[in-house]
């Protein structure tokens, strides 16, 4: 009569190796407290029997999970704030950077994360820290979070008064670079395209408008989608007013929407109108013509977000970081 308790537990391995449970635990952690000989024997036995430590038990005892929550809005959820390939690019890079540090990634939708409030996510989701993609103006909430001692970092618009670690590209600079380029192309009727109330995009707008000097037409769109942007542009082009000869869109996806509308109305890009996006998402290169855009280095962003978060988890506060951007001139 064998009692088959399913997967092996640490006690089983201990018995098989003729040692006690603590010794097995130490051997698996490569602790110097165990003699090399014993260690090797235990490791062998563990491997042979396919033993792995139970993560749930380990998490409980160590009060640490080596898991980080990444909170992101999914495109098809009702309020699609961040429906962009850019965010997935960023996610992939974050996941990579975390993997290097042996951390697991818990992917949370904005809604599920917010269920019990961010402040309870550590206990509630069993994670050691949080990476928030996109802040959408919840500055105050984040301030409180930081004060409560929750380890988190945010990807979003830089702001001088942030008491937490926020990482973002230099949006005003990006806007200025685009203005400069349009000026050097001798463009006259500049337009900015994007939704209102989105902090990062408003910073891009402001940087652009200030560097441009004279009036910038603002074309508002309801959200960040291709379709919304295309529709808004179509409507604008059909309004009878003189068409713009330089369009700066708040993201690549919106730029592509605008391009679609321009093409449809027979406005030739880049001859009759220059178009510039933001993000340098992969699709910008694939697009025909390839999109001129402001680059955000997602690889670097992912690496720094993770590095800072780890630092914060270890107790060292981390200051906001502003990432440089540059203009990638392509076919539009």
């Amino acid at each position: 009569m064998k009692k088959n308790t399913g997967p092996k537990k640490m006690d089983d391995i201990a018995r098989l190796a003729g040692v006690s449970k603590p010794t097995v635990s130490r051997a698996l952690q490569d602790s110097p407290l165990v003699s090399d000989e014993t260690k090797q024997r235990i490791l062998d036995i563990a491997k042979r029997h396919g033993y792995v430590v139970n993560r749930s038990a380990q998490n409980l005892r160590r009060r640490r999970t080596d898991t980080i929550a990444v909170v992101i809005d999914f495109p098809h959820l009702p309020e699609n704030r961040l429906s962009d390939p850019f965010h997935f690019e960023l996610l992939a890079n974050i996941a990579n950077a975390l993997a290097v540090r042996q951390q697991d990634v818990l992917l949370c939708s904005e809604r599920s994360a917010h269920q019990g409030g961010f402040e309870h996510m550590l206990a509630n989701k069993g994670v050691d820290g949080i990476i928030l993609l996109g802040q959408a103006g919840r500055h105050e909430e984040f301030r409180a979070l930081a004060k409560a001692g929750v380890p988190f970092v945010v990807w979003g618009a830089h702001r001088a008064d942030a008491s937490y670690c926020i990482l973002g590209s230099d949006n005003p600079l990006g806007g200025r670079l685009v203005a400069q380029r349009f000026r050097s192309l001798k463009r006259k009727r500049a337009m900015f395209l994007g939704p209102r109330g989105h902090l990062e995009i408003e910073q891009r707008h402001r940087g652009f408008a200030e560097a441009w000097g004279t009036a910038v037409e603002e074309l508002e769109v309801p959200d960040l989608s291709f379709a919304a942007s295309r529709n808004a542009m179509l409507k604008r082009l059909d309004s009878g007013k003189a068409a713009p000869d330089a369009v700066f869109a708040g993201s690549d996806t919106m730029a592509m929407g605008a391009l679609s509308a321009l093409r449809e109305r027979g406005i030739v890009v880049p001859e009759a109108c220059s178009v510039c996006g933001y993000d340098d998402s992969p699709s910008a290169v694939h697009h025909a013509p390839a999109l001129t855009t402001v680059r955000q280095d997602t690889r670097l962003a992912g690496a720094i977000l993770v590095e800072r978060l780890m630092q914060i988890i270890q107790g060292t506060p981390a200051a906001p970081v502003l990432l440089p951007t540059d203009l990638v001139v392509r076919g539009t």
Copy 2:
């Protein structure tokens, strides 16, 4: 002298409510064993004190984590990480379907998942089940996994002899649909473009070739990327051989690569050459001209993958599923 043990534990709430720990636990689970009055009081106190159950402790005791691992890296296709928009689409839909069922998502790279082998992931990563995106010919490994009783489902190419639950679109049908369309357009020189050794793509190829009847030129590319596909096509067009007048690419990203090469060599699409992709990823619509492609319904796929996995976790075996596909005719 207050002893500040950080976040509240269940015992604290019990004390505050003047009941015992088990009662609090039951109240939080809305168990019928607790009187409504007591339940309400406990819930109030818990909320007021911002109490949430500790997930690690809960996981350990319940021997269940309500967390599903999604493994998303393809082993021998380095370019194909999260970078293909299709996978990211699928991931988002899976995440969404899991959220509806109150399950969390642990995002695992192929490598980290494979660290200790899939068979140990449940204990090792602390998940209840696994969703594998892309199977890339590890049929035997999966067979063993299934035999070992690990709950998992796979997104990939259908095969008749699968002893595990595999879900995929009807790739041969997709290929046939494309062949039909090319035939109705009176095309003569058909080409298939894609890497070898990728099961799903080979099925598309086969369906296409069989339905086409006469010889199909095969253009091999090293991976699924835009660049690889563009390069391969450029090289082919420069070879001096007659250019194809109908190209079926194994994915949208590759189709866009091919389109880029065709455009560059002055071959007008769709007049001189028809192009068809596979996936119907969002970028297919955004592309100019909009891509004709075979649709894979990621929303449905995500929903079914999750539904089946839940079923398997509950002990009911689930058979493979073949999803229907259809051709979406657009501008190419």
